[in-house]
């Protein structure tokens, strides 16, 4: 066990891609935690999806040991966090487990939207913050300007910001010294009853559920009988350890320490992040305040392309959910798509990640329906229904009004693109709240309907600003507006999976765009196909997909029979990737692509 004064716990936070995971690599490497030959870039991003996309999705904890200039050896527990806004929840709970943050800012980019969001969270968590200016090796790096920006925009002192290159290793020793000298040691009482925070948990195929804990008071040992104060679960501790970053068993964990335990827990769902762990006997009486659970905000339907794969999909979703408590699901039936699931996600990236994993790890071809948010439908009888799926919209004659979730969006953007960003926000029914400048960059704050954002707002923002804007958001509550359900009819049949909620004033425009998109996405058939958008039976937009003119093989003689047979059989099999609506076949990707707006 380590003395409190020799422990430092911190999270590494930053805007996406500013170099958190690379900095973690260097800290791990310089302290010799991992053998040189086992090092690789973004070592902690171990999931396939993380490596492929080059981003962090799950926060990761590592314990490293650092002999400081003062002659003492310190135990440092670092938590590398994700930068993407969908996973902001990971950042906030990681911060609850530590006393300080390294705020990494890319010196060639400057302060971005998640930089701000992270600082505010760190301040809320009473953290000591050490600013780190990264990527000084880049010619475009401008440390003085960025330091100034940190002081102006964030209002924290940046005179002692550590200037580093996580890539080349410049300044890493200074980071280690700053951690030891500038971040506080944790507090805690070894002799008090056990009080530990359940920071996170995940499912491991060999070990079962692994629980990440931060000990506040007392000592936990292997074999102890523990109690989860909120869920009431009682378990014997099978194994106790720390991440270096491989799992290493340890006999006990004391105050200020971060590590993991396993205790024959079956499902991640049996644990609750933010719960307080104590001893079954002589436990503490006051639990920690706990965290707000992560709430899914974006919903969509997932259906197997081949309806025979429904059971496989159920299995796969259940397995994934074992390891991801922030993802919700319930069974759904669609007239058009058959059996599937309505799933809730933290955001669009989260949705994509889950869908990718279902398709790749479990080999199931999926149809994803339009993402939607939760509407509050207030009925004339005074009751309220939560609407997760536009297809379930109740009969309008009973509806009094509809409320939709709104967000506060913060966008940082270079001056020259400000006009485009304002236009985009305005088009998405935004209400401007604030507009300030920091040097040549503008910071705009908008109140926006979440449903205008969940879908392709981020893509559009990136494209109108050539990638120079950054974006962060928080939910701020519900507000009533003139919302209607828009239906899409293909060949005169309504396709429920394409129904969306839209603002009445934007319905015509949306409807037209959707019909045009579908006209491109649906292959020509042997007959012409009308595509219409309608509100309550009234058609507001219409396109016609003309019939195919010619599709026939010019030459087919005796020697061609075998080859042509194979070709046709392949084409026939290709039809299985489509869904049949009446006489029309719609390709699976149409359900999501139909909604992408090119404004």
């Amino acid at each position: 066990m380590t003395e409190l004064k020799n422990i430092r716990n911190f999270s590494i936070v930053a805007h996406i891609d500013h170099g958190k995971s690379t900095l973690a690599d260097r800290l791990i490497q310089l302290t010799g935690t991992v053998a040189e030959r086992d090092m690789k870039e973004q070592l902690l991003d171990a999931m396939d999806i993380e490596r492929e996309r080059g981003i962090t999705i799950k926060a990761n904890t590592v314990r490293i040991e650092y002999p400081a200039k003062d002659g003492e050896t310190y135990v440092l527990n670092l938590i590398d966090t994700p930068g993407h806004v969908d996973f902001a929840y990971e950042v906030s709970r990681s911060m609850q487990a530590v006393e300080g943050s390294l705020l990494v800012v890319d010196a060639s980019q400057g302060v971005e939207a998640q930089t701000l969001a992270n600082v505010y969270q760190a301040i809320d968590a009473d953290h000591e913050i050490v600013p780190v200016l990264n990527k000084v090796d880049l010619p475009a790096a401008d440390c003085d300007r960025v330091a100034e920006q940190i002081e102006d925009v964030i209002g924290i002192d940046a005179t002692d910001a550590v200037r580093i290159s996580a890539k080349t290793g410049i300044g890493i020793p200074d980071v280690l010294e700053a951690i030891v000298t500038r971040l506080p040691a944790p507090k805690g009482d070894r002799d008090a009853p056990l009080k530990a925070m359940l920071v996170d948990s995940y499912y491991d195929a060999y070990l079962g559920v692994v629980v990440i804990i931060r000990v506040i008071d007392g000592v936990i040992k292997k074999g102890d009988r523990i109690k989860m104060m909120r869920t009431g679960g009682l378990y014997p501790v099978d194994r106790l350890g720390v991440f270096r970053p491989a799992m290493q068993n340890i006999a006990e964990l004391g105050p200020g320490e971060i590590g993991f335990l396993t205790a024959s827990i079956k499902q991640v769902r049996d644990t609750r992040v933010g719960d307080t762990i104590t001893h079954e006997k002589k436990g503490c009486t006051e639990p920690l305040p706990g965290f707000k659970p992560a709430q899914p905000v974006v919903f969509c339907g997932l259906f197997p392309v081949d309806s025979a794969e429904f059971e496989d999909l159920r299995d796969a979703i259940e397995k994934l959910a074992l390891n991801d408590a922030s993802f919700s699901y319930e069974m759904e039936t669609s007239a058009a798509l058959g059996f599937g699931f309505r799933c809730g996600f933290l955001g669009l990236l989260h949705l994509e990640v889950i869908r990718d994993r279902l398709e790749r790890e479990y080999g199931i071809d999926l149809i994803t329906t339009a993402p939607s948010v939760i509407y509050h439908v207030h009925m004339k009888d005074g009751t309220m229904q939560e609407l997760h799926n536009p297809a379930d919209m109740p009969d309008l004659t009973y509806v009094d009004h509809i409320e939709e979730p709104r967000i506060k969006a913060t966008i940082l953007v270079p001056d020259e693109y400000l006009g485009d960003v304002l236009k985009l926000c305005q088009d998405r029914r935004g209400i401007q709240q604030d507009l300030t400048y920091a040097g040549t960059r503008a910071m705009v704050v908008y109140d926006l309907p979440l449903n205008e954002v969940v879908f392709d707002f981020y893509d559009r923002l990136k494209s109108v600003t050539k990638g120079y804007a950054s974006f962060d958001y928080q939910m701020i509550g519900y507000r009533a507006d003139f919302l209607v359900k828009m239906q899409v009819l293909v060949n005169d049949e309504p396709v429920d999976a394409l129904s969306t909620m839209v603002h009445r004033d934007r319905a015509e425009q949306r409807g037209r765009a959707m019909c045009e998109k579908l006209k491109e996405l649906i292959p020509r058939h042997m007959f012409k196909i009308p595509i219409q958008a309608a509100i309550g039976g009234r058609v507001i937009a219409r396109e016609t997909l003309s019939a195919m003119r010619k599709d026939v093989t010019a030459k087919c003689y005796g020697g061609d029979a075998t080859r042509k047979k194979k070709l046709l059989e392949k084409q026939k099999a290709g039809k299985k990737k489509m869904r049949q609506f009446g006489k029309v076949e719609i390709p699976q990707q149409a359900f999501i692509n139909a909604l992408k707006m090119d404004d």
């Binding site: 058939h525 042997m526 007959f527 195919m548 003119r549 010619k550 599709d551 026939v552 093989t553 010019a554 030459k555 087919c556 003689y557 005796g558 020697g559 029979a561 075998t562 042509k564 047979k565 046709l568 059989e569 084409q571 026939k572 039809k575 006489k583």
Partner: protein, 387 residues
């Protein structure tokens, strides 16, 4: 006695000659350019193969013979004569057995026409391809329009039955150009025409250029579609309606050999890369041979057989082949024949759906494509094929 399915279509022999003077950039046929062709050696191999397949199909009446290629008009008339003689000695042949030979329309080859006629050839199919010198060059052809016309006149004077091939939807060809060109072709004294839309085949020079984005000026799908419908219209007016997707004839002048394929009869395949469908003891076999001329010769000489594979076709495959070949014909297919092959009737709902949208006609036992349906036959077949 039980009738084998092939008897609904007849029995023919396809003989493949794998050499050409030059390789055309669009062509993916089994054709090779070679300076040394020992025609005696080829003769022995062909005769030996005819004897082999003859033994498998003993006693059948042979309806047609087709010398295809490659460029069979490179064969010496004496070689053709020896082959036809062997054929007549191997099978009983129908009185008016059709014997077609594919010819390239150069003066050299036209010089052999009389010899082919004397050997027993009674139908010539010439690869004219275009009536425009510039386009002939771009198609890599060795003849000019004038030469083709001269060869055609010789053929016309030598044979009762002459057909020629044209390729349309060529680079930089507009619908109007094609209309004019086809009208001109239709003024020639012809009773049969094969009119193919240019197909870009992978593995050919055009295919490679196309993949690199370097094959410019190809008409888009809609204008290629226009050209197809212009073709139907002009030929119809000229008294040469389509009897198959790309084949047009005065009534009675259809290619009987090719109709065996489309009516899903039996055909023996002799020569490198030749495919066959041969029913033996009630099983229909799909046969093929080595593609390379040398490999085929060796196999025949060393093992006494040029056969590479012979696979008994499962019924499901036969059903698919019957549909995909049969529906190419204006006359379509017989539903009772389908049923006895498939052991169940063709799905009525599907037939009704397709009739409703106007792509097929169902009349008693007959199911056939409408002109509209023929143009989108692949889509029709994707619906009709068994699951």
């Amino acid at each position: 006695m039980k009738v084998d399915d092939w008897q609904n279509g007849g029995f023919g022999l396809y003989l493949h000659w794998p050499f050409c003077q030059a390789k055309c950039p669009y062509c993916d046929f089994n054709s090779h350019v070679s300076a040394l062709i020992d025609q005696d050696r080829w003769k022995n191999a062909y005769l030996s193969e005819i004897a082999r397949v003859g033994a498998q199909t003993q006693g059948r009446v042979l309806n047609t013979v087709f010398f295809g290629g490659g460029t069979p008009s490179m064969m010496e008339p004496s070689l053709v004569a020896a082959i036809i003689e062997k054929i007549r000695a191997t099978w009983p042949t129908s009185n008016d057995m059709e014997v077609t030979l594919e010819a390239n329309p150069t003066s050299v080859e036209a010089g052999r026409f009389q010899g082919y006629r004397d050997a027993g050839v009674n139908r010539i199919s010439m690869g004219v391809q275009a009536l425009n010198d510039n386009d002939l060059r771009r198609l890599g052809r060795l003849h000019s329009v004038a030469e083709a016309r001269a060869a055609f006149d010789i053929a016309r004077n030598t044979f009762d039955r002459v057909s020629f091939d044209l390729i349309y939807a060529r680079q930089d060809q507009s619908a109007d150009h094609w209309r004019a060109e086809l009208s001109e072709a239709l003024t020639m004294a012809i009773d049969h025409l094969s009119l193919y839309q240019l197909t870009i085949e992978s593995g050919t020079a055009f295919g490679d250029r196309y993949e690199r984005g370097k094959l410019r000026g190809l008409p888009d799908d809609d204008s290629a579609g226009d050209m197809y419908f212009i073709t139907q219209e002009l030929c119809e007016k000229a008294g040469m309606p389509a009897y198959e997707v790309s084949n047009h004839a005065r009534p009675g002048s259809e290619s009987r050999h090719n109709k065996i394929y489309w009516r899903y009869g039996d055909y023996a395949g002799v020569g490198p890369g030749a495919h066959g469908r041969v029913t033996i003891d009630g099983n229909r076999y799909a046969t093929d041979t080595p593609l390379q001329p040398g490999a085929w010769l060796n196999s025949v000489e060393k093992t006494g057989s040029g056969e590479a594979n012979s696979i008994a076709l499962p019924l499901k495959d036969q059903v698919t082949e019957y549909l995909l070949m049969g529906m190419r014909l204006i006359d379509g297919i017989s539903l009772s024949r389908y049923e006895s092959l498939a052991r169940k009737p063709l799905c009525h709902n599907k037939i009704n759906e397709l009739s409703e949208i106007g792509v097929v006609v169902h009349e008693g036992d007959n199911l056939r494509p409408t002109p509209q349906g023929l143009a989108v036959l692949n889509a029709v077949l994707r619906e009709l094929l068994p699951e």
